[in-house]
Symmetry: C2
Subunit: 381 residues, 2 copies
């Protein structure tokens, strides 16, 4: 529970019979530090938030079931209409309300239904209702995603994070939606400088399907205040919660039965290690092999070789679940049966050592399964 | 049938009980023009051919069931041993024999079995046996892939092409193995200059799963001779057969039920159109939507926006099966039912118009299906 931050969620009718509209209300003004998708096509809420909302803010309205992306100027105008009604309902300024949407691209928001649901949404606001809010923003997620941590030496200040995300999860910005709240006061300028780096170390370290959403949004909310000394422990606690949330997202990846933690060591530079890690982490052949518990290291090395990074194929080493499969680029005899057993786990550790330098990069990915195809061949129907 | 080019295939025991070893023998010396994978990790046959074989050549030996990739110096030495035995058997020089392999990465060639099979392989050589050869080089292909064309005004000269390829088929070089033979004499230098461009317009225009094999190989074989005037019609005929072969590969893509011909128009430069086309063509979300006959254009525009190319989201137009789904970046009302019916075909036409310039690029891709996952979650078992 975060003091002064109240949550709510209702079924407004965007998705028939399901929770689809969430509200967060801040009793005191807070500063919002957002990170938005790197996709060149951006959802209306991103265009709207950037143009029409000014810090400090008082509320966040999030809907699922409709991404409000590729809806043109009308999509932005729809948010504006909802903002006007919500400002009246909540007794705050229009420019103090941030928005976020997730769901199917190309469909406009049902403004009437959302506006009609605002009084009920306000009525349900409670500090304890974070799970209701987390449920209201889910799409293909199988469970609500909430993390929390308590700051030491800060009078028991809390940080709570909420996320949704399961498919269209991509290494270059991987959250869909994620919001972090705290009752701690934090120097705004310092927080603003810290958040992008924390994003790189958390939400950018996961991938489900290599797809970057038009709607990806992370927002950290905090009261401005405190001093520079408070920033460091806050940043650490925040970073660790962001990493925890991002792991919850990848673990709940669409159709995923496994999470693979992949580390590439021994590259000349971190960016090169990252390129190789991302190439392996998005390879359909590697991901289907993970699903099949098949220690098919040939696919791993082929993907590594396809990252457009020079590698010495006679040096490469591959270690899967602690077992060395490849040394100096060739197979080390191993028991396929034993490996299959070792791979029949929910979490796999895969290490690729290049012996070409000292830089490393790690990333979390999923397997590619029948259920991923099933979910996505019929998402709209 | 190509005069003076004889084919053979046998079951040598690499794959239990199946054809797995092919031979092409040239009665007269021919010049080979190869294109090899752009993967940084290259199979032993590529390393071997580049170092040990000199034009003109007399024979080509191809095996399936074992990629002989990531087998270190031993993998190259294995080919050398087979080449020595084959040279004796065929009565030619070791340096006149080209090799190619396809199959599982990381396993060494069973040299003894292959050498033992050479006499039988030689005995079966026939000009008519191209299908036997085509079958011997298949892996997950569902049928042999053979094309042929007759050159006009060249005394009835023929070109025959053979390919294998189904998975690990990638836009940046997409064949697995493909060989083209002719009884026409063609100026070698001119052919050498022409083949890379023809490769770009054929095998580089298809993708099944975005994976680049360590073994990808295209080789065009022709007697040196003729004159510059002969080159142009030959190049045209060759290019058209290469395109036909590459389409056969993508149509036989692992698990594929559809081939999607995607054209991106109106980019500033061809490379930018290509980037967007490749991004859409390898998007798991687009490919599962194709499979599900779901006109989910939001995924198409999201992939386009994720190609790291500036696009104006308010101008984009998407036309699927002749129906305009999106104009000026927003949905044009369409009947979902009608679109589903139109998409329930083996071949789809998808056009993305950007209205940002005059450059275009087109590419062929497949859908992503349950069977792709099934095939690749259990390929080795």
């Amino acid at each position: 529970m975060v003091k002064g931050v109240r949550f709510s969620g209702v079924a407004s009718g965007i998705k028939p019979g399901a929770l689809d509209l969430g509200l967060v209300f801040f009793d005191e003004p807070v500063y919002a530090v957002p990170l938005y998708t790197k996709n060149r096509v951006k959802a209306a809420h991103i265009l709207y938030n950037r143009k029409r909302v000014r810090n400090p803010v008082r509320a966040l309205i999030v809907n699922s079931g409709c991404a409000n992306a590729c809806t043109g100027h009308e999509g932005v105008a729809d948010i504006d209409a909802i903002a006007a009604a919500a400002a009246r309902e909540l007794g705050i300024e229009k420019s103090e309300i941030l928005f976020a949407s997730t769901g199917v691209i190309g469909t406009r928001l049902p403004v009437g239904k959302i506006v009609a649901a605002l009084p009920e949404l306000k009525r349900h606001l409670k500090e304890k209702a974070v799970e209701l809010f987390a449920r209201a923003i889910m799409t293909t997620d199988t469970h609500p995603k909430i993390v929390q941590g308590q700051l030491t030496g800060k009078g028991g200040s809390m940080i709570v994070g909420v996320a949704k995300g399961s498919g269209m999860i991509n290494p270059l910005f991987a959250t869909m939606l994620s919001f972090l709240f705290t009752d701690a006061a934090v120097p705004y300028e310092g927080l603003k400088r810290a958040v992008p780096g924390l994003g790189k170390e958390s939400f950018e370290r996961i991938t489900v399907d290599g797809e970057t959403s038009t709607n990806d949004t992370v927002i950290v909310f905090a009261r401005n205040g405190g001093n520079a000394d408070d920033l460091k422990p806050f940043r650490e606690a925040l970073g660790s919660l962001m990493r925890e949330l991002s792991l919850m997202i990848v673990k709940d990846g669409e159709g995923a039965t496994k999470v693979v933690h992949l580390t590439v060591n021994g590259a000349k530079r971190k960016e090169l290690a990252e390129k190789i890690a991302r190439r392996i982490a998005t390879s359909p052949l590697c991901k289907t092999a993970f699903f099949g518990c098949d220690p098919n290291w040939g696919r791993i090395i082929a993907a590594a070789g396809d990252a457009n990074v020079p590698i010495d194929q006679n040096k490469a080493e591959i270690v899967l679940q602690g077992e060395t499969l490849v040394r100096n680029g060739v197979e080390v005899p191993f028991s396929e049966e034993k490996l299959k057993r070792l791979m029949d786990k929910k979490e796999l550790e895969l290490v690729v050592n290049l012996f070409g330098g000292r830089a490393s990069y790690d990333i979390y990915t999923t397997d590619l399964t029948f259920d991923y195809v099933k979910i996505n061949a019929s998402y709209r129907t």
